[in-house]
């Protein structure tokens, strides 16, 4: 017999965790002497009150969808990929190489090439930890953490010593040519008399992210590969019995994960900055962990959680602009979400299971 209904597991537990995180965040805001109601008001108006706000919210959400899906796919194979940050950095390098060194006639072809390049670079960066986990049993959490730092040093070297244009003091690549600039929401949705999303960075990558959600869903729940990934994630001995190679699944799942994290670069590097700068990822790789945990590793959940975090990021930026609450408040909220939906899951789950068991006994 199930301990509790499925909807409780999928909806109620994340919701309660979120409420707990919200309560604690409120206390934090009170503790630093600010008004939580006002803060929420500011965040909502700033992030959702205008197409400009939405443009930023959806821009951030796009990043988080990619990194959230990356973490989620690895989770299905019971792999914890903390390396999304490094893989997204390398994805940025891939986009920069694709955009700078090949003269593309049109942005649409450039986007396809950039997708391929970013996925390739991201996957390549995940490949070594994946191989070491699969073949040599090196703990993937530790190796991916190490690879984040190595990626940062590598990118630093590439930007300072190799890709920086002559005469520039800035550790960044040159601007990408006009032809590869992606259409923003502003150019896509504005009419002559009514300009919307003005100056906001949301761009066509958002739709690529939506597509990625659908593709990942189909991959995990409808294909044989997805079946094998899930089976391996639930039981390694079972996988061996069924003739599913743990080595193969570990490597494939990590390659997909790395490719998804790398794909984020089409949004932040190609879509927004239009050049590669240091720290372009801004921690989005780590937010993917919170997004995947909250979204219960399901693409639809990841989509919702990414929008929520997009709202928090844009709202947080507005907050920092108009009050003395720094942007780091969002980092705190993010930590609380990871804590409650991830590490303290049992704290919410066990009482809830008891409650449902009690309800059922009462009904009988």
């Amino acid at each position: 017999m199930e301990k509790m209904p499925k909807w409780a597991d999928v909806v109620l537990i994340p919701l309660i965790s979120l409420i707990l995180a919200a309560i604690l965040s409120t206390l934090v805001i009170l503790a630093i002497g600010e008004n939580p109601v006002e803060a929420v008001n500011l965040m909502v108006t700033g992030a959702l009150g205008s197409t400009y706000g939405w443009g930023y919210t959806l821009y951030y959400a796009t990043n988080f969808m990619f990194t959230g899906l990356a973490v989620a796919v690895a989770f299905h194979a019971r792999l914890f990929n903390i390396g999304g940050e490094g893989q997204a950095m390398l994805g940025g390098l891939g986009v920069a190489v694709a955009c700078l060194y090949i003269p593309w006639p049109h942005w649409s072809i450039a986007l396809l090439a950039a997708c391929a390049a970013s996925m390739l670079f991201g996957a390549a960066w995940a490949a070594i930890p994946a191989y070491l986990q699969a073949k040599r049993g090196s703990h993937i959490v530790i190796t991916t953490i190490m690879f984040n730092f190595i990626a940062a040093a590598f990118l630093n070297y590439m930007l300072v010593n190799v890709m920086r244009p002559q005469g520039s003091q800035d550790p960044a690549t040159a601007r990408f040519p006009e032809a590869v600039h992606l259409p923003t929401f502003q150019s896509m949705f504005s009419t002559a008399e009514n300009a919307v999303f003005r100056g906001a960075p949301a761009n066509i990558s958002f739709f690529v992210a939506l597509l990625a959600c659908v593709v990942v869903w189909a991959l995990i729940w409808r294909t044989r590969l997805g079946y094998e990934i899930r089976a391996y994630g639930h039981s390694e001995t079972g996988a061996v019995y069924a003739g599913i190679s743990p080595v193969r699944i570990t490597i494939i799942a990590m390659l997909i994960s790395g490719a998804l994290a790398g794909l984020m670069a089409i949004n932040n590097v190609m879509g927004e900055a239009e050049r590669l700068v240091l720290n372009a990822t801004e921690g989005a790789g780590f937010i993917g962990i919170a997004v995947a945990l909250m979204g219960r590793s399901h693409p639809f959940g990841v989509f919702l959680a990414a929008i929520l975090f997009g709202f928090l990021y844009q709202g947080g930026a507005e907050l920092a602009l108009w009050t003395s609450i720094p942007r780091e408040l969002i980092v705190v909220i993010q930590a609380l979400v990871i804590l409650f939906t991830g590490a303290l899951d049992n704290m919410v789950r066990i009482p809830l299971e008891k409650l449902f068991l009690g309800l059922r006994k009462g009904a009988e």
Partner: protein
């Protein structure tokens, strides 16, 4: 002679830079030897760095600062313990959460208390740990070789440096010569053995996590009140992860941990002093030095240079077998 002076200076800087790594590394050693993985060393150090600097700045007493730092670090340890021991949550996810919590809260509180853009006021006088001069350090300074080694390399560090290096034999002794150490190692290898022997697994693991908190607290306080004079945003700069790397490099053994931390400290000292190193035509960029600890750790983890086998029960919450 000039080379020798440079060498002493680099080694002196190595000791300073290795100290926070060593403290954090030993902190991780206690926790992981008891079977609790801790990737939240970074967060605990950062939290302690802030609170030690903040309290030292306000009270003017570095000792009160140290206490506050240890206290703050202990609170995060308790959180890790509750999540991973009491509620049997995922230790890695808990560690990730703690790192973010520290990263966010320190800036948030710093801004609220001091309004200096997420930093504390600079510390001076009694607000900092001052170097300790060994007897006759000045008198001996002139002596060749011995002089600089004694007066600059060995003498002239803050008390926390000596504490850190004394922790090494102490940890070895605790681990291998005491009842507590035996039980600690056992609970990291097979908690069921400890449980059926009538010893509390939960109690032991909380004790280990608490020791880890104290040592991370000292490490953070050292950063903010001895190595530097005050807290700045993200000042741990990945040291918690280098310490973790050192712990794996040392295969969870105290003396080896010291050598690993000295090695990684040396890499940092060299990177700090030389930027790009010219080795007879081949230029080693500074970024290689930055990445080297992580690369070395991956190589060790890959098992190409002796396999690093973590404590067997590490990372797994203990559930009584039915």
């Amino acid at each position: 002679m000039e080379f020798f002076v440079t060498l002493v200076q680099v080694l002196d800087s190595t000791i300073r830079l290795a100290t926070p790594l060593l403290l954090a590394c030993l902190a991780g050693l206690y926790s992981e030897r008891a079977g609790i993985f801790d990737i939240g060393l970074e967060g605990k150090m950062l939290m302690s760095a802030f609170f030690s600097a903040a309290v030292a700045a306000v009270t003017g007493s570095v000792w009160l600062g140290l206490m506050a730092g240890i206290g703050a670090s202990l609170i995060l340890s308790a959180l890790h313990g509750v999540a991973s021991i009491t509620f049997r949550g995922n230790q890695l996810i808990s560690g990730v959460a703690i790192n973010f919590l520290a990263s966010g809260l320190t800036v948030l509180i710093a801004q609220s208390w001091f309004q200096q853009g997420g930093r504390t006021p600079s510390l001076f006088g009694g607000g900092r740990f001052e170097p300790i001069s060994f007897p006759f350090a000045e008198a001996l300074d002139a002596a060749p070789i011995i002089g600089p080694v004694y007066s600059e390399l060995l003498s002239g560090h803050s008390i926390l440096v000596y504490v850190a290096f004394l922790m090494v034999p102490l940890t070895w002794w605790v681990l291998y010569r005491t009842r507590f150490g035996l039980r600690l190692r056992a609970v990291g290898e097979n908690p069921a053995a400890v449980d059926t022997a009538g010893v509390s697994v939960v109690g032991l693991r909380f004790a280990a996590v608490a020791i880890c908190g104290v040592l991370c607290g000292i490490a953070g306080a050292y950063l903010a009140t001895a190595l530097q004079a005050g807290f700045v945003k993200e000042m741990t700069a990945g040291r918690g992860f280098i310490a973790l790397a050192a712990l794996i490099f040392a295969k969870w053994r105290p003396w080896h941990a010291m050598w690993a931390c000295l090695l990684f400290g040396l890499l940092q000292a060299i990177a700090l002093r030389f930027q790009n190193i010219d080795l007879g035509g081949i230029i080693i960029p500074v970024q290689v030095m930055d990445a080297l600890p992580y690369i070395l750790t991956v190589v060790i983890l890959a098992g190409f240079v002796g396999k690093a086998i973590p404590p067997r029960a590490g990372g797994e919450p203990y559930v009584k077998e039915r």
